[in-house]
């Protein structure tokens, strides 16, 4: 071909690539906007509300004030050293964007930046995935991977507009770090490994899941060493990454000295040590004879490993190295969390996913995933080892904890794209149809080939595709067979790709785009109705209570109360203090007078409960109630007993069969207070638990008074009664009043009938 044609083709490819990237960006961003279009530009769920609040704090204060932020409005009365216990990457990034946009004359509300943060970064994730996959195969696989990454529901689930969570930026950083690591490992370039370290630092500043990188890269290096693939390239890449990355990560206040003191990070340190020895061994090997080297190697390896392991045990035993964290344990010993840390087990995203979740989040990529892994095994270059380690490890993790599906999704997209692109390499190649070679030419080419093959059997695999094309001049019949087969195969797979796009859009639109602060529902006539009880209640709190009022609610709502109502909370989603959470749990599961005592001791003014019985909302407090009981039982096993909340037949009931402990508990009373009387016949129907509640079950409320209940009874707020003016106990006072009232009634009957005097 002529030089100019080649150049033109290359130029065309570049333009096409650019267009594809623009399209991928567009798709990545727009498919995440369902929630904004359907609802409004609003922060979703729970954790994002804290991040949003922290970001607001950051843009209104200086960076140092932010790092030193002591938050006295949460965990009352303890407070939280927020600046030192958060991962600041997310907030600083959006803060920086806000400042830059203001500098160039675009003063955008910080809320909008936070809402649209995740979609914007998903575009970058797609780009990083492209670069990553390009290193593994070629740019066509890279483009496929980027497109998959842009729309895979497994990633969208945590990155729709409004889901302003650490994961929104963390997955981008994860992919960028991996991309630079692969480049560094391939070339041995110090620049690339430094970039990998820098992005690792960024990742550490953004998400606790950075430990995954901390362990995966050393694992990659370790496996390569075991396979005997040590090279000095590997040495320079790993040591640079480890030294810079570890030092940098220790600059994050929350991480501090963890990288040298916690067992989670010891693997990286161990491999760092190992690679020094291997490098030394490599040097010695080049200096002494093979026999002697073997002896030296075995003795030194045995010594080093035994010293390393016993040292680790000793230091852990002496308390210099922190043992593994609870979440880490629960990954390996799957029963650990349930027995020892109910607070981790109680979170729904820490549950194991059933198989439909995998298919739901990745559709046909999920069965391409093992195929892609196998195909990589056939080549098994150094960088492929990384993908294989990642795949096996992460599919285990995702199998144990549903939230880790998020880290599995990128590698599924990558391997799936590699598999599909290998298929297309073969079956989308219609050059046979254009072949115009004369038989003579082909003969000579073939002879060359055969010679080459006999001399170099290793090369055989790589060459067969080329051979196929130039091998012979096919007859028209053979040509027809070939083209038909290729057309059928490639068209079915194009169809599956189309289906994948439809599936992703369906899942994103129907399942992952609800803000969970505002809930969509349907009117009887089929029109959409929005249930906005949460915001209604939080706004009520904001407008009608004292600015320093303390609100007790289960920890799930802590961030939302802080973010939307701007009131002080006792516990929130940070869950750093199990005992404090157990106090709230104990108050909720105790009888009214005891609960009042506990709450008064903590200076609480209001109690907020979420009750889904009238609506059929299954995520309400009564359904979480058992966890409150369990968590407080962990601290006060003598006072709170889970068994007492179950009926004799071991059922969890709230109707007439409920146990006395259940009916007396504060949570029960606050949830069902006056609930039956809103029904015409006085029999309330709890639509969540499908049980009937009458006024006989719901005892009178003496220590609390209802101050607010939202439209559909979803959120109910109660005020703790202020001390009785006569110094009586509220229970006694209420009893006295009730007696008085019944007395009054009697007296009323006795009153003489007054007739109209004429």
């Amino acid at each position: 071909m002529k030089q100019s044609t080649l150049l033109a083709l290359e130029g065309f490819q570049t333009v096409l690539k650019a267009l594809i990237f623009i399209a991928i960006f567009g798709v990545a961003i727009s498919s995440r906007l369902f929630s904004v279009i359907r609802f409004e530009s609003i922060i979703h769920e729970f954790d994002p509300w804290f991040n949003f609040r922290a970001t607001k704090y950051l843009v209104s204060h200086s960076f140092y004030e932010f790092l030193n932020w002591f938050d006295d409005r949460t965990w009352y009365p303890l407070g939280r050293v927020t600046g030192g216990t958060l991962y600041p990457g997310l907030m600083t990034t959006s803060g920086a964007i806000w400042h830059i946009l203001r500098k160039i004359g675009l003063p955008i509300d910080i809320r909008n930046i936070c809402v649209l943060f995740a979609p914007a970064f998903s575009g970058f994730t797609a780009w990083a995935t492209y670069e990553f996959t390009k290193e593994l195969k070629d740019s066509s696989a890279g483009l496929l991977a980027a497109a998959f990454m842009a729309i895979a529901p497994g990633y969208i689930s945590r990155s729709v507009a409004g889901s302003y969570d650490n994961e929104a930026i963390a997955i981008t950083l994860l992919m960028v770090t991996f991309m630079f690591w692969i480049k560094a490992q391939k070339t041995g370039s110090i620049l690339y490994s430094m970039l990998a370290a820098l992005f690792y630092f960024y990742m550490v500043s953004a998400w606790g899941g950075y430990v995954f990188i901390t362990n995966l890269i050393p694992l990659h290096v370790f496996i390569l060493i075991l396979m005997g693939r040590y090279q000095s390239k590997l040495y320079s890449a790993y040591t640079t990454w480890y030294a810079i990355g570890t030092l940098a990560s220790m600059q994050i206040p929350f991480v501090g000295f963890l990288p040298i003191r916690s067992n989670d990070h010891m693997a990286a340190l161990g491999v760092f040590g190992l690679i020094q020895i291997v490098a030394l061994g490599d040097y010695i090997k080049s200096q002494v004879s093979g026999e002697r080297f073997k002896v030296v190697m075995f003795i030194s390896l045995g010594l080093i490993i035994s010293i390393g392991i016993s040292g680790l045990f000793f230091l852990t035993y002496m308390g210099y190295i922190a043992p593994w964290t609870g979440r880490f344990y629960s990954l390996w010993d799957t029963n650990y969390a349930k027995i020892h840390i109910p607070i981790i087990a109680s979170v729904s995203e820490h549950q194991p996913p059933a198989w439909p979740s995998f298919f739901f989040d990745n559709q046909f990529l999920i069965w391409l995933f093992p195929a892609g892994v196998f195909l990589l095994f056939l080549e098994l270059k150094d960088e492929h080892v990384f993908v294989l380690a990642y795949s096996v490890l992460c599919s285990y993790f995702a199998g144990v904890m549903i939230r880790l599906m998020l880290t599995l999704t990128p590698i599924i997209c990558v391997t799936g794209a590699i598999a599909i692109s290998k298929l297309f390499d073969i079956y989308l190649d219609f050059s046979v149809a254009l072949s115009t070679k004369s038989p003579k030419d082909v003969k000579s080419v073939k002879l060359d080939k055969e010679k080459k093959e006999t001399s170099d059997l290793e090369q055989e695999d790589d060459d067969y595709e080329a051979e196929l094309v130039v091998d012979y001049e096919p007859s028209s019949k053979a040509r027809w067979f070939d083209i038909t087969a290729k057309a059928v195969v490639s068209s079915t797979f194009l169809m599956y790709l189309f289906l994948f796009v439809y599936h992703c859009t369906y899942v994103t639109s129907n399942f992952y785009s609800s803000p969970s602060v505002v809930m969509p529902s349907q009117n009887p006539d089929g029109s959409v109705a929005l249930i906005d009880d949460f915001r209604e209640a939080y706004y009520w709190l904001r407008m009608n209570t004292a600015e320093d009022a303390k609100v007790a609610a289960w920890w799930d709502y802590g961030y939302q109360i802080g973010g939307m109502a701007d009131r002080t909370t006792l516990v929130d989603n940070n869950t750093w203090n199990n005992t404090h959470i157990a106090i709230v749990g104990k108050a909720m599961s105790s009888p009214e007078e005891k609960a009042y005592e506990i709450l008064k001791a903590h200076d609480v003014d209001y109690v907020l409960v979420v009750f889904g019985g009238a609506l059929g909302y299954s995520g309400d407090d009564l359904n979480k109630f058992l966890w409150m009981v369990r968590i407080s039982e962990g601290i006060w096993p003598d006072e709170v007993k889970e068994r007492n909340f179950f009926t004799g037949r071991g059922e969890y009931r709230v109707d007439a069969d409920a146990t006395k402990t259940m009916k007396d508990s504060l949570m029960y009373k606050l949830s069902y207070h006056d609930f039956p009387s809103i029904y015409p016949n006085g029999v309330g129907h709890d639509r969540t638990r499908n049980q009937k509640i009458t006024n006989n079950e719901v005892g009178p409320l003496d220590y609390f008074e209802e101050v607010f209940t939202s439209e559909i009874l979803l959120v109910r707020i109660y005020k703790l009664k202020s001390p009785d003016s006569l110094g009586r106990d509220h229970g006694e006072a209420a009893k006295f009043d009730r007696n008085l009232q019944s007395g009054v009634k009697k007296r009323l009957v006795k009153k003489p009938e007054l007739e109209l005097r004429v």
């Binding site: 029963n335 549950q351 194991p352 996913p353 059933a354 198989w355 439909p356 979740s357 995998f358 298919f359 739901f360 046909f364 999920i366 069965w367 391409l368 995933f369 093992p370 195929a371 892994v373 196998f374 195909l375 095994f377 056939l378 098994l380 294989l388 795949s391 096996v392 599919s395 285990y396 995702a398 199998g399 144990v400 598999a419 290998k422 298929l423 073969i426 079956y427 067969y464 196929l468 012979y472 096919p474 007859s475 019949k477 053979a478 067979f481 070939d482 038909t484 087969a485 290729k486 059928v488 195969v489 079915t492 289906l499 599936h503 369906y506 889970e642 179950f646 004799g648 037949r649 071991g650």
Partner: protein, 345 residues
Amino acid sequence: MRLSTVFATFLVWYMSLVTAISNKRLLELSQKDGNVIKLNSKNYEKILNSPRKSDIVVFFTATATQFSCTLCLEMSPSFDVVANSWFSDHANGISKELENHGLFFAKSDFNAESKQLFSQFQLTSVPAFLVFKAGGKSINDVEKITVATELGANHLNFLADNIKNAVQIPDLFVYEPINWGACITTVVTVAIVTFVLVRYTSALLNVLTLRPLWGIACSFCITTLIAGAMFIKIRGSPFSGMSADRKSIVYFLEGQLQNQYAIESQIITVLYSVLASSFIGLICVVPYIQKWYQKKQHYGKAAIVNFSLALFFTAVIYIFYSALMAVFALKNTGYPFKLFKNPFK
């Protein structure tokens, strides 16, 4: 008249003396039954409905297959272990620290002979544990203990803790028996493995360095994991379920994305494996065979084989993928996509 009253009183006193069950009698009974007394409708009155000086822990179970109570079957050995541990320390069943305070174990399996016993305590669910405390006068002095365990868990710990809590005997220790069978198996396996390792080192090394072998192992491992193997291990899901009318077996928990039976994972593993291997067939096998024929100069054959194999693998993928989509639609009611529509329906 007066004499008869005295006589009646004497009789009652005598009766109570006779019926009060002594620790010695309990010990005899338990020795006869191998540490755990077997209760049925005939003997339970005698044993439980009388003043006693010992704690009696009774385990109610239903081992008959028609109840399909897996938990009962799983817990039974643990209960025996607790009983055996107690009697290995205290041959006479009497605590060494509490004076004249015994502890005995009994078990009752639900069948025609013990039906009355179960209705006596109004038991509606098994496994159940009742404790008859020492000093209790009659069958009504009873305490039910709930053992918070679930399928597949280590029942012994839960059970031992709960029994210890209920009976408050300080010197009740539980010894997990050494599983000699497992020990021997381990020893034999280790011996065989070492022998093979030493004898066939080079052959093994060749096998171990086979890439496709590793590839298959890894891919299969991944396939089982993404088919929900960990879910089953952690949750201990039942293998399959029964339909509401209890007439047919149900293989899929329909309409539940977050829950599944164990058999679902096996079905899905097979589907995924077939799909993945057909895909690999398309990429590796088809071109390889075509090339093989071409090398032998059978160009016509090469084209036909290539054509038919490619179509075969595509068809397999299509069929199994449609099956997968159909199964997924079962789990996710309202899922709008399918690959195959039955034209006869």
